[in-house]
Structure formats: structure tokens, C-alpha cells
């Protein structure tokens, strides 16, 4: 992705339309981060349109694939029960967009740990993302932890990753040590994946 080649102001009036426009954008050679972020933010979350993908698990957050973007991107819905959170992770050189569809998610940004670092990781900033807001991150910006800090409300988010990836590194906040993990889908295209 590079600098914008044309400034468009998209308005996605439904999830289906959002996906259609994304396919259109990613068919081009050059894609603008700002354009994608604005598009994602323009979609007003309508639970009727995504409820079929929102499968919750009692114990931890779930990743539910919605669209595989002809290999150019992965669009998925993440479901976070009360208190569910991710570890600190990177994004394997990909772009990551995260839009809140329901509830709130807290995003804490961290600096990359020192090469042979053995100390507590440095927190850069934190914020609580509200419904319909869309955040963006990539490895050059830093690492993050995402969590649903509510003890009463579940949260649902829409994620776009480009290019798609299925492994990343998780980091121990106290030491900066990293550990490669493989990510799996709880469901794909609305069907529960059994593994």
C-alpha cells in the first residue's frame, strides 16, 4: 500500500456493500490506508447483517472469517466475551484495520522490545475504541494488546488484514520474550470450523 492515488469518500451502506467496495479497492495495484480506514468507518454497524458470523466462545475470544478477499485480504469478525483479551502481538508485516461493531475494546500500544531485552515492555499509549470507530496498526507503528475490559457487555469487532497471515508473535509484557503462534478460525463464512 502506498500514498493515495485518488481521494475517494466511500459510504458503505451495508456489510455486503462494504465487502464489495473492498474487493474493488484491493483489485487495484495501489491501495490507500486512509481510504480503507475511512471506508470501514463509514459502515454503520447493523447487527442483523453480521449476527450469523458472531459466534462467541465461553473461554476466549473467537475469530470468524467473513471474506477472503480473493487472496488480497482477510475480513473477519472477532467476538469478545466479558473480560476476554488478546496477548501482545505483532502483525507479521501486514496492515491491520479494526472496527468496533458492538461494545468497546481497549487497545494498548507497546514499543518493540530491545533485541536481547530482558525488561518490562514499554507501554506507548492506550485508548478505548467506541462503536463504529476504526483503528489501524502495522509493525512499524508497534505492537498492541486488545481487550474487552467490560464485565457486563460482550464486544464484536470487524478486522481486515492485508496481506492475509496465519502466524504472528506474542510477547510477554514482563520480559519482552516472543513466541510464535498459529492463529485459527473459530468459524468460516458462518460455519463453525471443527478441528
Amino acid at each position: 500500500m502506498e500514498q493515495p492515488v485518488q481521494t475517494e469518500t466511500w459510504k458503505a451502506r451495508s456489510l455486503e456493500e462494504l465487502i464489495r467496495i473492498l474487493h474493488q479497492i484491493f483489485a487495484e495495484d495501489k491501495v490507500s490506508v486512509d481510504e480503507v480506514q475511512a471506508l470501514m468507518e463509514s459502515y454503520e454497524s447493523n447487527p442483523e447483517e453480521w449476527l450469523q458470523y458472531a459466534k462467541f466462545d465461553q473461554y476466549r475470544y473467537t475469530r470468524n472469517l467473513v471474506d477472503n478477499g480473493n487472496g488480497k485480504f482477510n475480513l473477519m469478525i472477532l467476538c469478545w466475551g466479558e473480560g476476554h483479551g488478546s496477548s501482545i502481538h505483532d502483525h507479521t508485516d501486514s496492515h491491520c484495520f479494526m472496527k468496533i461493531l458492538q461494545g468497546n475494546l481497549k487497545e494498548t500500544l507497546f514499543e518493540w522490545p530491545e533485541k536481547k531485552g530482558n525488561g518490562e515492555m514499554t507501554k506507548k499509549s492506550e485508548r478505548v475504541l467506541r462503536e463504529n470507530q476504526c483503528a489501524y496498526i502495522n509493525d512499524s507503528i508497534g505492537l498492541h494488546r486488545v481487550e474487552n475490559i467490560s464485565h457486563t457487555e460482550p464486544a464484536v469487532s470487524l478486522h481486515l488484514y492485508s496481506p492475509p497471515f496465519d502466524t504472528c508473535n506474542t510477547f510477554d509484557q514482563r520480559t519482552g520474550h516472543k513466541h510464535k503462534v498459529t492463529m485459527t478460525f473459530y468459524s468460516q463464512f458462518g460455519e463453525r470450523t471443527v478441528c
Binding site: 465461553q58 473461554y59 466479558e82
Partner: protein, 313 residues
């Protein structure tokens, strides 16, 4: 709750009265024989009358499976709650609880217990008497220590302890063989080896008791007062496999680090019979780093088999 609820909807199975400003739930609940799920989150419950009187005799006490009271104003678990013997899932997240009553063990069918976001300072060992508990959430509280008995929760799959005041964990936590997920971030966990926290020299009774046990001095109940026979039965074995000693009340608390899955180091409490009894690989004067490292090797192989996924800081 509106009067006549059970007359209009006698077959009611799921009732969701969340976000309605309720301050109490009355006797209308008691005549709903099919009710298995009651969601009453984000209300103003917590005072007397939050749960109806006569709950223990009502069919609800046996039929209710899921109860969600998160986002209310409970400062303690109402005793009536503990009458719900059929309860499988209980949520009291985001209330004002300062503790957990030992009678929680009465909820013997409980599988899911969410107590995140309260002011809980301690966990009663009786919590470990819940044989079906699979998911336990205690995050965002003020918990300073975990009772070792918690390792008896054989069904536990997920334990959430993040954002508390824990400095160490009991070594028994390694016994939770089915634990898939453990969150510990946001606790002031001790990072460096801490040696000799406090050591009270053993009493004469303790020294005599140790000698009898380690030398296998024979004795029978007719030889000793009953209190001493009981005392001798309480001997604990020193965890140092090379020591083979025992201790009673006097022990050294040492924090040792166990390398979980070869990647993370967790501080676990060990009890040793004296400061001189430490790692089998080192003498008492050894530097702290190598001591923790050599110990962590044997623990690591045990731990690696036991813990599958650890969600740490």
C-alpha cells in the same frame, strides 16, 4: 417484576430483565417452574430483597442453571443465592463484592463463575470444592494470594487472574492438568529470585517432631498424648527430593521460578524445611540466579507437559 408473571407465562424458560432499573426481584420468580436462565445485569440490585424470600423451597432452586447479576450493586453474595443448587453458570462481574463466602461450595453444579471487576481481596479455600468448575474469572480485583487448595479444581480449563495484587503463585498450580488458559498480566509478580523472606527458628516441639519422623522412631497412640499424635501426623515433606526431611510449622518461604513451556518464568512459592535446604544442585551460598535456573530445569519439564497455553502479560 410485574405481578402475575407466572400466570401469563407459566412455561417461561429464559427471562431477561437486564437494564430495567430493578432494585428487587420478588416472589413472582418463585412460581416459574421451567425457568432455567435469568439475566438481570445492569440493574440496581444489591440491597435486601434483591432475591425473593423462600427461594430454597421454590422449584427455581433446582431448575435455575444460568444467573447473570453483573453490573449491579452487590457488596456481598446474598445467602439466598447459595440455595440455587442446580446453578451451572453465575456471573457477578462488575459489582462491589469484597469477598467470596466459603458457602460457595454449596453450588456444587457450578461450571462457570465470573467475579471480575469487584473488590475481592482473598479467595476462600472452599472455592476449590466445586468439582465441575471449568471457567473461573477473578480479574480486576484486589487479590493478594491464591490458596494452594485451588489446585484441587481438577476440571478447571480457564483461570483469569489479571489485574490483581499477586506477587507469587502457589507451586500447586502445576497440578491443574486441564488448564488451557491462565492470565496473569497486571500483577506485581516478583521478577527476581527472593531468598529468605522470613524465617522463624523451629520450636523444641518441632525439632523433636522432625527427629521422630526422619529417624522413624516408632510410637503408638498409647505412648503419647492425643494432641502430640495429631501433631506428628501433620508433618509435611520437604519438597527438596534430596533432603527427605519434614517440617511442621517452621519453614522457609522461597520464591522459585518455573519456566512454563520453556518460555516464561513464573514465581512459585516453595516451602523448604530450613534455609540450608535448597536446590539439590547448589549449596546455600550459591548465587541466586544459578539456583533458580537449576531448579527451573526439573520444574520446567513437569510444567511443559502440564500447561498448554499460557496467556501471560
Amino acid at each position: 417484576l410485574p405481578a402475575g408473571l407466572s400466570q401469563w407465562f407459566p412455561a417461561l424458560e429464559v427471562l431477561d430483565v437486564s437494564g430495567t432499573g430493578l432494585t428487587e426481584m420478588g416472589t413472582e420468580l418463585l412460581s416459574l417452574p421451567c425457568l432455567h436462565t435469568l439475566l438481570a445485569k445492569n440493574n440496581r440490585l444489591g440491597g435486601p430483597g434483591s432475591l425473593p424470600k423462600g427461594l430454597e423451597q421454590a422449584p427455581l432452586a433446582r431448575s435455575l442453571r444460568v444467573l447473570n447479576l453483573s453490573g449491579n450493586r452487590f457488596s456481598e453474595m446474598p445467602p439466598a443465592l447459595l440455595q440455587l443448587r442446580g446453578l451451572r453458570s453465575l456471573s457477578l462481574g462488575g459489582n462491589r463484592l469484597h469477598g467470596i463466602p466459603p458457602d460457595i461450595q454449596e453450588l456444587h453444579s457450578l461450571e462457570f463463575l465470573y467475579l471480575g471487576g469487584n473488590f475481592i481481596t482473598a479467595i476462600p479455600p472452599e472455592l476449590a470444592k466445586l468439582p465441575s468448575l471449568r471457567y473461573l474469572v477473578l480479574c480486576d480485583n484486589k487479590i493478594q494470594s491464591i490458596p494452594p487448595q485451588l489446585a484441587q479444581l481438577h476440571s478447571l480449563r480457564s483461570l483469569s487472574l489479571h489485574n490483581n495484587l499477586l506477587t507469587y503463585l502457589p507451586r500447586e498450580i502445576l497440578n491443574l492438568v486441564h488448564l488451557d488458559e491462565l492470565s496473569l498480566r497486571g500483577n506485581p509478580l516478583v521478577v527476581r529470585f527472593v531468598r529468605d523472606l522470613t524465617y522463624n527458628p523451629p520450636s523444641l516441639q518441632e525439632l523433636a517432631g522432625r527427629t521422630i519422623k526422619t529417624r522413624n522412631v516408632p510410637y503408638a497412640p498409647s505412648d503419647l498424648p492425643e494432641s502430640l499424635v495429631r501433631y506428628l501426623s501433620l508433618a509435611s515433606n520437604c519438597p527438596n527430593p534430596k533432603c527427605g526431611g519434614v517440617y511442621f510449622d517452621s519453614c522457609v518461604r522461597q520464591i522459585k521460578f518455573v519456566d512454563f513451556c520453556g518460555k516464561y518464568r513464573l514465581p512459585l512459592m516453595h516451602y523448604l524445611c530450613s534455609p540450608e535446604c535448597s536446590s539439590p544442585y547448589s549449596s546455600a551460598s550459591q548465587s541466586s540466579t544459578s539456583q533458580s535456573e537449576s531448579d527451573s530445569e526439573d520444574e520446567a519439564s513437569v510444567a511443559a507437559h502440564r500447561m498448554q497455553k499460557v496467556l501471560l502479560g
